[in-house]
């Protein structure tokens, strides 16, 4: 490990390339922490966006016109406004409207910036997921739903056990795209000071004036994460492939 650090310290002395986080413990810990927060943020927003998509696609088929209109309105708003504006809106507007508590001298909200990032990113990507799932649901034959109905399935039960599992397989490629997009969009959380990787990199280059090096690192970090996500989705797709179907 010593050798590794020395190598990059020497590289800085000889070439001016300053990968400070590879030879200084303090910066190394900061990067590790930033990466960890990013991963937590990505996983949480991904899951939340899938839940929003699952529930929203279900509600879109509701009998109540009001429910359907609410979902349609939600989709319009979140698809057609910048996600960065959405994050700021959630954090500064909605966050301020909610009750606060005394956190030793200052007022703090019950939801921190990380929480707001998950909520706003989840709703942002969720609005696309609703549409994606709906396109999948439309591909499920009416006759399959009728078979479930004839067996006594309620609308919700047939959605959970029959319609959604089939729809999900159909729309995996589109879902894949949207989730990759969401992964990259999580960097916007830096706007509300969530200490994720983008934010941490910014802090490090402010202290060390090594913007190109940190930028290079960010590219590698996100390319790596996207590769892992795409690989995982691909494996999942293979695992869910139905023998003799489609």
């Amino acid at each position: 490990m010593e050798f590794f650090a020395d190598y990059f310290r020497e590289m800085y002395d000889n070439t001016g390339w300053n990968f400070v986080f590879l030879y200084e413990q303090y910066e190394y810990d900061r990067v590790l922490e930033g990466m960890w927060v990013s991963i937590k943020l990505i996983v949480a927003s991904l899951i939340f966006s899938l839940v929003v998509g699952f529930v929203g696609a279900w509600a879109q088929g509701a009998n109540s016109k009001i429910v359907r209109n609410v979902i349609a309105g939600y989709i319009q708003v979140f698809r057609n406004t910048p996600p960065f504006v959405q994050i700021l809106f959630f954090y500064f507007v909605i966050g301020n409207l909610l009750p606060t508590y005394d956190a030793g001298g200052y007022q703090a909200g019950y939801i921190d910036s990380f929480g707001w990032a998950v909520i706003s990113l989840g709703f942002f990507a969720g609005s696309f997921n609703v549409e994606i799932f709906r396109s999948g649901i439309e591909a499920v034959p009416e006759s399959t739903c009728e078979a479930a109905e004839a067996l006594g399935y309620s609308r919700l039960m047939s959605y959970v056990h029959v319609i959604f599992p089939l729809a999900f397989r159909v729309c995996l490629p589109a879902l894949n795209n949207n989730l990759v997009n969401l992964l990259k969009t999580t960097t916007l959380a830096y706007g509300i000071a969530v200490p994720e990787m983008m934010y941490t990199a910014n802090q490090i280059w402010s202290d060390n004036v090594n913007v190109p090096e940190m930028m290079l690192f960010l590219f590698f970090f996100y390319v790596g994460l996207v590769a892992i996500l795409v690989y995982g989705m691909h494996k999942w797709e293979i695992k869910m492939k139905i023998p003799g179907y489609g």
């Binding site: 034959p141 006759s143 399959t144 009728e146 078979a147 479930a148 109905e149 004839a150 067996l151 006594g152 399935y153 309620s154 039960m157 056990h161 029959v162 599992p165 089939l166 397989r169 139905i242 023998p243 003799g244 179907y245 489609g246």
Partner: protein, 257 residues
């Protein structure tokens, strides 16, 4: 299921028709498809409905388990009124099983899972109990060895027998079959018909829409001939096939036999 707990408080007793259809009218928009259909099916009877395409046969049996609603008339299933806005559909569907022309299996589940799903999800039965029942049904429809195949890996006839087993797993009192052999190869028609015949002989109440005249003659207790939304003629197989009076029936039979 004993008769005391199957009447569900409707006062139905086994000496009354299990399915009683009275003056049923059904329209899709302007198009009146059923124009006053009546028939009674007793417990343990097997009846066949035949008639030209478009005469409303599918619509009629879909009305029996409330997949279609009706505008006028009454359908009683073990005393349960189907034409009632407050109908408990779950109660009805526990009594009535249905098999479709296109099988409509759940493609993402194996044969045995298809059979087990509804009893577990709808009736909330224990997995072990359901699995034992499902294995029995697999044997009954002669599909041993195919338990873990997906529908896409089975022939039409095999899929249709899974579909029959899937319906039977809900322990219905009446089975509806809508042209269940119409999409099958001639060689596989027989294996499905044999399965239905076994069922009928065990005393299952069956309502079949079919064009298999040999089967109707041999298995049915009663045959109904429908055309353009009305029952033109009905009778026991021997009177129906040998003494058909209505020219429409005679013409249909001459074409099909």
């Amino acid at each position: 299921m004993s008769d005391t707990d199957s009447n569900g408080g409707t006062g139905w007793t086994p000496d009354q028709p299990m399915v009683s259809i009275k003056d049923v009218h059904k329209s899709f928009g302007e198009l009146e498809v059923l124009k006053g259909i009546s028939m009674d099916i007793m417990k343990g009877e097997c009846i066949c409905i035949i008639g030209p395409s478009g005469s409303g046969k599918s619509t009629l049996i879909r009305c029996v388990n409330a997949l279609n609603d009706i505008q006028q008339g009454s359908i009683l299933v073990e005393g349960l009124e189907v034409n009632d806005p407050d109908l408990n559909k779950l109660e009805l569907r526990k009594k009535v099983g249905m098999v479709f022309q296109q099988y409509n299996l759940f493609p993402h589940k194996t044969a045995i899972q298809n059979i087990m799903m509804a009893p577990m999800h709808v009736l909330k039965k224990e997995k072990n109990e359901v699995e034992a029942l499902a294995r029995e049904l697999v044997k009954k429809v002669r599909l041993e060895g195919k338990e873990n195949s997906y529908p896409g890996e089975l022939s039409g006839g095999q899929q249709q027998r899974v579909a029959i087993a899937r319906s039977l797993a809900m322990t219905p009192d009446v089975m509806l079959f809508d042209e269940v052999t119409a999409a099958l190869d001639p060689e596989t028609v027989k294996e499905v018909l044999t399965t239905i015949q076994d069922l009928a002989e065990e005393g299952m109440t069956c309502i079949l829409v079919t064009h298999e005249m040999g089967f109707a003659r041999e298995v049915a207790n009663h045959i109904y001939f429908t055309d353009r939304g009305v029952i033109v003629e009905h009778g026991t197989p021997s009177t129906f096939f040998d003494e058909a009076k209505d020219p429409r029936t005679q013409e249909f039979l001459s074409q099909i036999l």
